[in-house]
């Protein structure tokens, strides 16, 4: 068994996949990657199933050593990845050799970054998922963040020397920097009728600021309080969804994220469209957002559109040989040394 060794764990790095579906009725949070688009792309770039587990990093990335020849990719917020002292590109795959060191810095914009490894991590699933749940203390790495010295087993496959790296087409790479305000598309309800007309208007017409209290469970927003209908009374607790925008008594909205609790009792004024949860995942404290209502049909269309772009043959550009030589001088050098050794 080969292990990736973690020298620097970054700020909050965990193992995440698509999450633990099927166990909310026992109280388990779904969890999984906050930015599922970035996770999916990282996996596709290295030839994995889209939902394979990756390392999710927050604000500051990891420094790791790879134990064997394999293919990796880094997606999400740009943490200026450096492989053996040389900068490499985000949203692109690279061949690595035993002993290669990848170090990631601090995200300049965006918040979360994903590191995929071909073949995924050889970790045991808990209830069908390798995702770490920090709150429930379950899943990979015993429910904890990666630590200095942590080792992550990988299944290394034979990568042929003529491996051709891939990169995501530039126009498919999401922009994480917005000069003014991020538009977050939402679907109304399910409990819009707990709010006054004025409250609903406030919600759609004001700008909200992402507060300091943001994590994988939820994002608290600051801004204009939303007015509840007094006569609507208390809601009876029910099951929530990722993207539910709850409004507690104080009137300030909370966006529920992947590690949300399964049930809740605050009325939900609107629900973030799945396609825009990746934008939320990359929001940082202080970012401004505005909610825009779309229909559920539109939400599905947008999601499908992005998905088909990603799976389209032309989404992943293969990198031509000249570029390979330029991008990976070390590898080529080693390759020739190896040939030389074998020859003589």
């Amino acid at each position: 068994m080969y292990n990736i060794i973690v020298h620097d764990p970054g700020l909050q790095s965990t193992i995440q996949d698509f999450g633990r579906w099927g166990y909310q009725s026992k109280g388990y949070s779904v969890g999984g990657a906050m930015d599922q688009f970035a996770l999916k792309t990282a996996n596709i770039l290295v030839g994995n199933d889209p939902g394979e587990a990756c390392i999710e990093m927050t604000l500051k990335g990891v420094e790791v050593t790879f134990p064997c020849r394999t293919v990796i990719a880094v997606t999400g917020a740009d943490m200026q990845p450096i492989l053996n002292g040389k900068p490499i590109e985000m949203w692109a795959s690279y061949l690595v050799k035993p002993g290669d060191v990848l170090s990631l810095g601090i995200a300049s914009v965006g918040l979360r970054t994903y590191l995929s490894v071909k073949g995924g991590f050889a970790l045991k699933s808990f209830l069908g998922s390798k995702s770490t749940s920090l709150q429930e203390k379950t899943g990979s790495n015993e429910g904890k963040t990666l630590q200095k010295g942590s080792s992550i087993p990988v299944s290394c496959s034979n990568i042929s020397d003529d491996y051709v790296p891939k990169k995501l087409k530039a126009d498919l790479i999401p922009a994480y920097y917005y000069e003014n305000c991020k538009e977050i598309r939402v679907i109304e309800g399910p409990f819009e009728d707990y709010f006054t007309q004025k409250g609903i208007q406030t919600f759609y017409e004001s700008e909200y600021i992402v507060g300091n209290d943001i994590n994988r469970v939820g994002y608290r927003l600051e801004g204009s309080p939303i007015e509840h209908k007094k006569e609507a009374g208390q809601m009876i607790s029910l099951s929530m969804t990722t993207g539910s925008i709850q409004v507690p008594g104080g009137g300030l909205p909370i966006i529920l994220c992947v590690e949300r609790r399964t049930h809740g009792g605050y009325p939900v004024i609107a629900t973030v469209a799945s396609v825009d949860m990746s934008k939320i995942a990359q929001c940082r404290a202080g970012d401004k957002i505005r909610f825009v209502k779309i229909s559920i049909e539109e939400a599905h269309r947008l999601l499908q559109e992005r998905e088909s772009l990603l799976h389209n043959e032309s989404a992943m550009k293969t990198v031509d040989l000249v570029e390979v030589l330029m991008r990976l001088p070390d590898m080529v050098e080693d390759y020739y040394i190896q040939l030389y050794d074998e020859f003589f």
Binding site: Q24, S25, I187, S237, L238, T241, H263, S274, A299, H300
Partner: protein, 252 residues
């Protein structure tokens, strides 16, 4: 509101919760009758492979149906769910009911709010415990935290408002009451509920293959134990040798 109101004969309404979940609303109250309806329908839905559906999650008077938007549309889901319209579902209450008996050390350091509850109702601490442990509580469903039951049926005489300032950390096993409900924690958590005691058992034990104890529809009864017994049972739980007393009864 994207709501799809159904006919008179069945009062289920369907509400979209975003682009990958449909909520089935069966009514607007918390009651045992409603619980039976939710449970019957939940068991039926859960035993069927609904195309595109990822997961079905019950609550007091609703069932959330999560679907994969790449595989199904809400219209297809509505269509499938509406088949259950007027269907005579096997009555969940005809199955036998599971009764679980949970040991609790009340008051003192394990139940710092027992005195407050007693004073609030003008009762002695012993009277509060006697009333609390004299009956079964229905577990409406499991949720929020792994294995956490939603226990209903707290006697009116014990209904107590939440604390003004929530406690920062309450350990697992903590037994609380708030408004008309009771609960026991599986994970250390903050809470504003009145903490009246602590159980040495683990309702969420990650060493077990199925870590959660409670199921929807369980009848739960608490019984008082001394501090010595608490320590004894704790040791047995630690060694995975304690078995929660369990009965199966036919209920009418």
């Amino acid at each position: 509101m994207s709501k799809n109101q159904k006919g008179q004969h069945c009062e289920i309404s369907y509400i979209n919760a975003g682009d990958s979940c449909v909520i089935m609303m069966l009514g607007n109250e918390i009651s045992r009758e409603m619980h039976q309806r939710v449970k019957s329908l939940y068991l039926y839905l859960n035993s069927h492979q609904i195309p595109g559906v990822v997961e079905v999650v019950p609550a007091y008077r609703s069932i959330s149906v999560y679907y994969n938007p790449f595989e199904a549309s809400p219209n297809k889901i509505f269509e499938w769910l509406q088949q259950t319209d007027g269907m005579v579902l096997p009555n969940a209450s005809e199955n036998s009911v599971r009764r679980l008996y949970i040991p609790v050390c009340f008051g003192g350091e394990f139940g710092p709010d027992l005195q407050r509850v007693a004073e609030y109702h003008n009762l002695s601490e012993k009277e509060v415990v006697d009333i609390f442990q004299a009956q079964y509580y229905l577990n409406y469903f499991v949720g929020f935290m792994p294995g956490k039951p939603y226990l209903g049926g707290l006697p009116e005489i014990l209904e107590t408002p939440r604390l003004d300032v929530p406690r920062f950390k309450l350990p697992s096993g903590t037994v609380v009451i708030y408004s008309k409900q009771a609960a026991i924690f599986g994970i250390e958590q903050p809470s504003g509920a009145n903490c009246i005691g602590r159980s040495p058992i683990l309702i969420y034990d990650i060493r077990k293959e199925d870590p959660t104890l409670f199921q929807m529809g369980d009848m739960v009864r608490f019984f008082p134990i001394s501090q010595e017994e608490f320590l004894e049972i704790s040791a047995q739980v630690e060694a995975m040798e304690y078995h929660v007393r369990t009965e199966y009864v036919k209920e009418r």
